[in-house]
């Protein structure tokens, strides 16, 4: 296929209330997604991630802008497009009283699977997402992590060419999140499909995505590879050192992997690419001073947006 999975230009979305109120939640979104890439939509709650994913997946239509999905017009050919895409929604929900297996069968049927192909696909997906031992458990009794896995399995039933994952790890325990990320990586590698995923968690976007768009209040404020974004926006891990005495800030700035430095009277904030590589060298530059405290923290979105808002 030569056509891009997603080509969007000037997308706007306004939700209208019953009483004539209206809220524009997406402004002039333009982007293109390349075949086979994992594209991340990163932004805080309410920034429009779900709305944008819903538009890309033809669940809802934008008021303005042009949108082509897999080379087809998203409005005119929305039914045709749906054969080739799928979604795992945020906080996945399925009919409560259906078991894992029944849910997969039901959605498989909606995709036109039948007979032995249906049974085989359902079994394959249960294997792929390690749902076999929970096959007869009702949806309402599944843990959040299992619900998420069922949702991913459902999203793969029609072997989509373009997959949407809306906050696939939000609300999961850290270890389950890690497992889910590995699953996503694996699906992507094995099936070689294009993926659009949303998250409000920077390290997740960094681990999974080839490119990231930052959404803020319905606008894309930056879009690039994670590496470039970190470089340009100072988005590495932050080492905050409080100390007494003097430190050679110029030398710090010269260290490889150091992206930015903010210095106050007795406090230095150093943004670096990777902690393991540079921490040791940084600390050694403090030998003439007395270190009172060191904290290392991952960049949070607030920092990013403060940065971007400048």
């Amino acid at each position: 296929m030569t056509e891009k999975p997603i080509k969007a230009a000037g997308i706007c979305k306004t939700y209208k209330g019953f009483l004539g109120s209206s809220a524009t939640v997406l402004h002039d979104i333009s982007l293109e997604i390349e075949e086979g890439e994992i594209f991340g939509l990163l932004g805080p709650n309410g920034s429009g991630k779900t709305t944008l994913i819903s538009i890309f997946s033809t669940l809802i239509f934008p008021e303005r802008g042009s949108l082509s999905i897999l080379g087809m017009d998203a409005r005119r050919h929305n039914k045709e497009i749906r054969k080739f895409i799928n979604i795992s929604t945020a906080k996945p929900n399925f009919p409560w009283s259906l078991t894992v297996r029944e849910n997969l069968r039901y959605y498989g049927m909606l995709y036109g699977l039948h007979g032995s192909a249906l049974s085989r696909t359902v079994e394959d997906q249960m294997d792929a997402f390690e749902l076999g031992e929970f096959r007869d458990m009702k949806f309402e009794n599944l843990s959040t992590g299992l619900k998420q896995r069922l949702s991913l399995a459902k999203a793969m039933l029609n072997q989509p060419r373009l997959l949407f994952l809306d906050e696939p790890t939000t609300g999961l325990d850290p270890d389950i999140s890690i497992k889910t990320r590995m699953l996503i990586k694996r699906i992507h590698q094995e099936q070689n499909i294009s993926v659009v995923l949303s998250t409000h968690y920077m390290p997740e976007a960094e681990m999974l995505c080839d490119r990231i768009a930052f959404l803020r209040k319905g606008r894309i404020v930056a879009m690039d590879t994670p590496r470039n974004l970190k470089r340009h926006l100072g988005l590495g891990e932050r080492i905050v050192v409080t100390y007494e005495g003097s430190v050679d800030i110029a030398a710090l700035q010269g260290l490889p992997g150091v992206l930015a430095i903010k210095s106050e009277r007795d406090r230095l904030e150093i943004v670096i690419d990777r902690v393991e590589d540079s921490l040791d060298r940084i600390v050694k530059l403090f030998c003439a001073a007395r270190i009172l405290n060191i904290t290392v923290r991952e960049p949070d979105l607030e920092d990013v947006f403060l940065e971007l808002a400048r």
Binding site: L59, I60, N78, R82, Y106, M109, G112, L113, H114
Partner: protein, 261 residues
């Protein structure tokens, strides 16, 4: 897509409704308790009023029609209601299906449930109240049931349209449609007893014609089946077109997302 795959898109809703209602205690009430109450209360009323056998058949036909209408309409409405209650509506509307896949699949299951209820009620009216549905012959019975089921489907589609247009609470308004039908389509009395305005309305409801047709098998009287069939088909087609429009509109307004929150 081959025909089996296409068929499965229809059967999916029937499969889902079947699984859900199989595990739902409330199903027993829907299929046995309420139908039995309504049949017994009308049957006993005919005894109390000491009406003749033709009047018994008139009332029992009405009571049974109303009961299976209500059972079957719920099934069509359930196709969206279950999705809404379980907040899984996005997963349905991301699939490559049309409104008629959902409606016909659900209707199929509604017909199945309605037929079970009909069978039970027909037995009860035969042994307790001496009215035998078989006396009218099989074909009139099938035509009558088809009329009831298609009216049920139209009501179910109307419920779906209101939900997609006005949101979750709207199903209440649509349910009252079956109350309207009870009042004006001649369930317990001929439509001639209604005021003129309501009579005109009654003439717009397909069920009115099917009731008159089926009753004429037992008590000779005027009827016009052709109009009933025409109206039933007309409303079904119109309903499906409007439902498609409502889905399209729900995608534009974003209510489709609201319904899954």
């Amino acid at each position: 897509m081959n025909w089996q795959g296409e068929l499965n898109k229809y059967l999916a809703s029937a499969y889902k409704n079947w699984l859900i209602s199989r595990r739902n205690v409330f199903t027993l009430f829907e299929l046995f308790f309420w139908p039995m109450i309504s049949l017994l209360s009308i049957g006993l009323l005919t005894r109390f009023l000491k009406v003749d056998s033709s009047m018994v058949s008139f009332l029992l036909v009405g009571a049974i029609a109303l009961t299976i209408l209500q059972v079957a309409q719920i099934d069509v409405a359930y196709v969206l209601l279950f999705d809404m209650w379980s907040k899984s509506i996005k997963n349905t509307f991301i699939a490559p299906i049309n409104s008629y896949h959902l409606v016909f699949g659900a209707m199929l299951f509604g017909i199945l449930r309605g037929s079970v209820v009909f069978f039970i009620l027909a037995m009860v009216s035969r042994y307790l109240f001496g009215f035998n549905f078989q006396d009218g012959g099989l074909l009139p019975l099938l035509i009558f049931l088809a009329g009831v089921f298609s009216t049920a489907a139209v009501i179910g589609i109307t419920v779906c349209i209101s939900i997609l247009t006005f949101g979750q609470k709207a199903d209440v308004a649509a349910w009252s449609l079956s109350g309207m039908i009870l009042l004006i389509s001649g369930i317990y009395y001929p439509v001639e007893v209604l005021p003129q305005l309501l009579q005109t309305l009654a003439r717009a409801i397909p069920l009115t014609y099917f009731l008159e047709y089926y009753r004429s098998v037992f008590i000779p009287g005027p009827h016009n089946l052709a109009i009933g069939v025409f109206l039933a088909v007309f409303y079904l087609v119109l309903g499906l077109i409007l439902l498609d429009g409502a889905i399209e509109r729900a995608r534009r307004t974003g209510i489709l997302l609201r319904l899954s929150e």
